[in-house]
Amino acid sequence: MNSIILLSVLGLGNLFLGFRRSNRLLLPAAMLMLGLVLTVNFLDWGSGPQSFFSGMLVVNDFSVAFTGIVVLTALVLIPFSQKYVHDGEANLAEYYSLLLFSLVGAIMLVSYNHLLMLFLGIEILSVAMYVLAGSDKRNLRSNEAALKYFLMGAFFTGVLLFGMALVYGATGTFVLEDIRFAVQNPVNDSLTPMLYIGMLLMLVGIGFKVSAAPFHFWTPDVYEGTPTFFAAFMSTVVKTAGFAAFLKLLVQAFPAASAQGLWLPTLTAMCVLTLLIGNVGAVTQTSAKRMLAYSSVSHAGYLLVALVAFNGELEGPSANGIFFYSLAYSVATVAAFAVLKLVADQRQREDYNGLNGLARTNPLLAFVMTVAMLSLAGIPLTGGFFGKFFVFSAAVENGYIGLVVFAVVMSMVSIYYYLRPIIAMYMRPADDTTAAPIPVTTFQSGALLLLALLTVVLGVLPGLVSGIL
């Protein structure tokens, strides 16, 4: 709760700082604010569930942990927003404030206890994203992305809301525990179809937000048009918060066997589809940014494996798998997008060949990108490996061996496209457009090194964060 208050206040304060229109002031200020929020967030750790707003929000270890991930992601991402100052951007402070406000939405998503809060959280997060997707105003693609994201998003918000309304109609409540009770002890059987249709519509609505197939189709186009910096934000913060919300919904509202009988096959089908489309789609891309978009879809698939392996509690293998996976995925994705952004800003291209010879001109960038790619591919020594390991072993433990086999096969496919940037950077010579070194500030280098280090630490000492839930 402290973090929500702080973020709202600091976000407003940041707008006043924005009168100076100086990134020299705003960037460190935003980082400081996020650092503060991150610290304050952990004050709530271990203090047991605290409820706010008449129990609409509940802060417990689960929400503190996931809040930690989203705030940390925003914090490590911010150093790469620097380009805007050179463009003489007039709305500098608004970007940072929107990011801070959107985090409020993300935190509501991980700590809601009432469907209204879920809805508000999703909307706060999404509205900020719609604006940021179109923030590159002079770029037609960015405009297209924003419009596409907004129209689709608004539509699926409607679907989600409709689902909530139906659930409310069938159960008479918005509170998660009460829904669970109502599902387990149905008063009136004629309302059951309504309840289940409502539940499925909610799955569809959240599935859209985390870009799970078949509701993923906006992802590549939107990511491609959105400024890389915000695309990274979308694919990490939104996804992490979305999956935490998903898990909460399933664990706290619909764990009943009768409900599971419906959502489990639905989610399993979504999971298989997402893995297939994400990975096969990524293989066929020529643009590194679109590849990252499809890879983001595929990672939604791996996270869905953990959801399917759900075991009815907010602690335990499944939640731990989602937590660790989200953390490792966020860190690696931020690193990949950050490098890609630095490269694309200078070389004006986002295809694989734009990365040619990077190892020679910028060894650090190439190294960080390599670590990120290996982590996303799930190669040991990186956090991504243990992320997959925890997710898969949670699924194996609950008997979903076929699903895990499929996911493993898909991650073999993923090695193909994650190695392509590495091959371009290390094994292909630079041409005229890629021969010049890319200027990277010390600050950015430091942030990149930190990300690489974090990935490796997660991959060598996963015990530091696994099993804390």
Binding site: L381, V408, Y426, G467
Partner: protein
């Protein structure tokens, strides 16, 4: 604690190497590798051959999952740690003559890989083993991919994909086994992944039959056994010489070691069921590799195929499940590592002087390079398994083990010696002797630095050949232990 030191020192040195540039990094890397060798020799000297696991170290790693950082050495591990610690400085030394771009990174990767290799040979926990297995793979991918020949991107990609897919199967097998184990010793987790817990599982034969292939896939690709070998000749040819030496000298042994430590005792019934098939595959590999080697025009490719043939015999020895066969495999791992690294070094030395590896272009080199030809011949005869050389001890034991299992198989596998003599002596004759080529007048003999690589290898060729017991007695206890686990069920 000594094992941990052996593991951490190379990786620490690799990180420190970042601060050295150019020539200084060579010296620093070589120095670090020498320190590692001293540590390994110290371990060997203080090792008590009568006791099982020594220098053990055990620490919770992922406590919530019952996974521990557990390392230790028995005789078999020690042999391979010795081999690694011995070959790495020589491989580094052999790279001195080449002027690489970013050479400090090159040396750092080799040292980094050394940690992975030693980790594989000392891990006592399944996930640590898998982890180290991959840690060894990543550097070699970059070593071969960045500093390799023309077609390196495609070929190293194939190599990486083959090995990683194999490893993922192994991981799947380990995860399955993990869920069959009981709670961890500290009671924090429902399962554990210790080697001993895997040994103590008694799974039904049907389960072991498919589990065998999951685990064996990773080893089969790495060794490689026919028909999983197709990455090998290309990668050996395209990779730079030091990377080829790492691949053939040490990395290949990961597969054989893996079979002995993680396959035979863990799924003995599966091994029993597939034993004949694996033996037939390995014998096909022996003959196939030998015949193809005869037809090769490229020296490096010829050695690659000869290595394929020789590794087939080692696999056959392991799968004969006899004490002699396993002992032969352990000593032959050592001998093969020494010989093949030496052979690749000589091939590289010739290529650096003449600019070609093609046999028809070479010839009559020996007149101006007497030292080189003598070294080459000794290593070559070691590979052919001439008595009194290291290859003889290993191959003799391996064939004897195989013969004990099935005389016919032993007889067919014995062709390896004949085939080996045919292609190796033919190559020697056409490259070093034979009619003069354009290089005969200009080629220079080995330099002091190059001799420094070859002399230790040649000393070892004779040492193992004359006094095999120095090394054989180390692995005896381990081999008996492994066979006991196999026979127990």
């Amino acid at each position: 604690m000594l094992t941990v030191l052996l593991l951490l020192w190379p990786v620490a040195a690799a990180l420190l190497l970042h601060f050295f540039k150019g020539r200084a990094s060579r010296v620093a890397a070589f120095g670090a590798a020498l320190v590692e060798l001293v540590l390994a020799v110290f371990a060997a000297v203080t090792f008590n051959a009568n006791n099982a696991g020594q220098f053990s170290y055990d620490l919770p790693w992922i406590a919530s999952a019952g996974i521990r950082f557990s390392v230790g050495m028995d005789g078999l591990s020690l042999l391979l740690v010795l081999l690694t610690a011995l070959l790495v400085p020589l491989i580094l030394l052999s790279a001195f003559r080449r002027n690489f771009e970013n050479e400090s990174v090159f040396y750092a990767l080799v040292l980094f890989m050394q940690t992975g290799l030693i980790g594989v040979f000392t891990a006592q926990d399944a996930f640590l083993f898998y982890f180290m297995w991959e840690v060894a793979l990543i550097p070699i991918y970059f070593l071969a991919g960045v500093w390799g020949g023309q077609d390196r991107a495609r070929i190293t990609f194939k190599f990486f994909l083959y090995t990683i897919v194999g490893s993922l199967f192994m991981l799947a097998g380990f995860v399955y086994l993990y869920f069959q184990t009981g709670p961890s010793a500290d009671g924090l987790a429902a399962h554990n992944s210790a080697l001993t817990s895997f040994y103590n599982l008694s799974l039904p034969a049907e389960t072991q039959m498919w589990l065998f292939w999951l685990i064996f896939a990773a080893f089969a690709v790495k060794m490689p056994i026919f028909p999983f070998h197709t990455w090998q000749p290309d990668t050996y040819t395209e990779a730079p010489a030091p990377a080829t030496m790492l691949l053939s000298g040490i990395m290949l042994k990961m597969g054989i070691y893996g079979c002995m430590r993680w396959l035979l005792p863990v799924v003995p019934l599966g091994v029993d069921y597939w034993q004949n098939l694996v033996l037939i595959l390995s014998i096909i590999g022996i003959i196939y590799g030998g015949i193809i080697a005869i037809r090769q025009q490229d020296v490096k490719r010829l050695i690659a195929y000869s290595s394929l043939s020789h590794v087939g015999l080692m696999i056959a020895g392991v799968f004969s499940l006899t004490q002699i066969g396993l002992q032969g495999a352990s000593i032959q791992m050592l001998a093969h590592g020494i010989n093949v690294v030496g052979m690749f070094f000589v091939a590289d030395a010739i290529e650096r002087r003449t600019g070609t590896r093609l046999i028809p272009d070479l010839g009559g080199l020996t007149r101006r390079t007497p030292v080189l030809s003598v070294c080459f011949l000794v290593l070559l005869l070691g590979t052919v398994a001439l008595p009194l050389t290291n290859g003889f001890v290993g191959e003799f034991l391996l064939l004897q083990g195989l013969y004990q299992f099935n005389p016919w198989m032993g007889a067919v596998a014995g062709l390896t010696i004949i085939l080996g003599a045919v292609y190796l002596l033919r190559m020697f004759q056409r490259v070093m002797l034979g009619p003069d080529s354009s290089f005969s007048a200009t080629i220079t003999d080995l330099t002091g630095a190059e001799l420094a690589v070859l002399v230790p290898l040649i000393v070892l060729v004779f040492w193992i050949g004359l006094f095999p017991n120095t090394f054989l007695h180390l692995s005896e206890g381990s081999v008996l232990g492994i066979l006991n686990e196999v026979v127990k069920r």
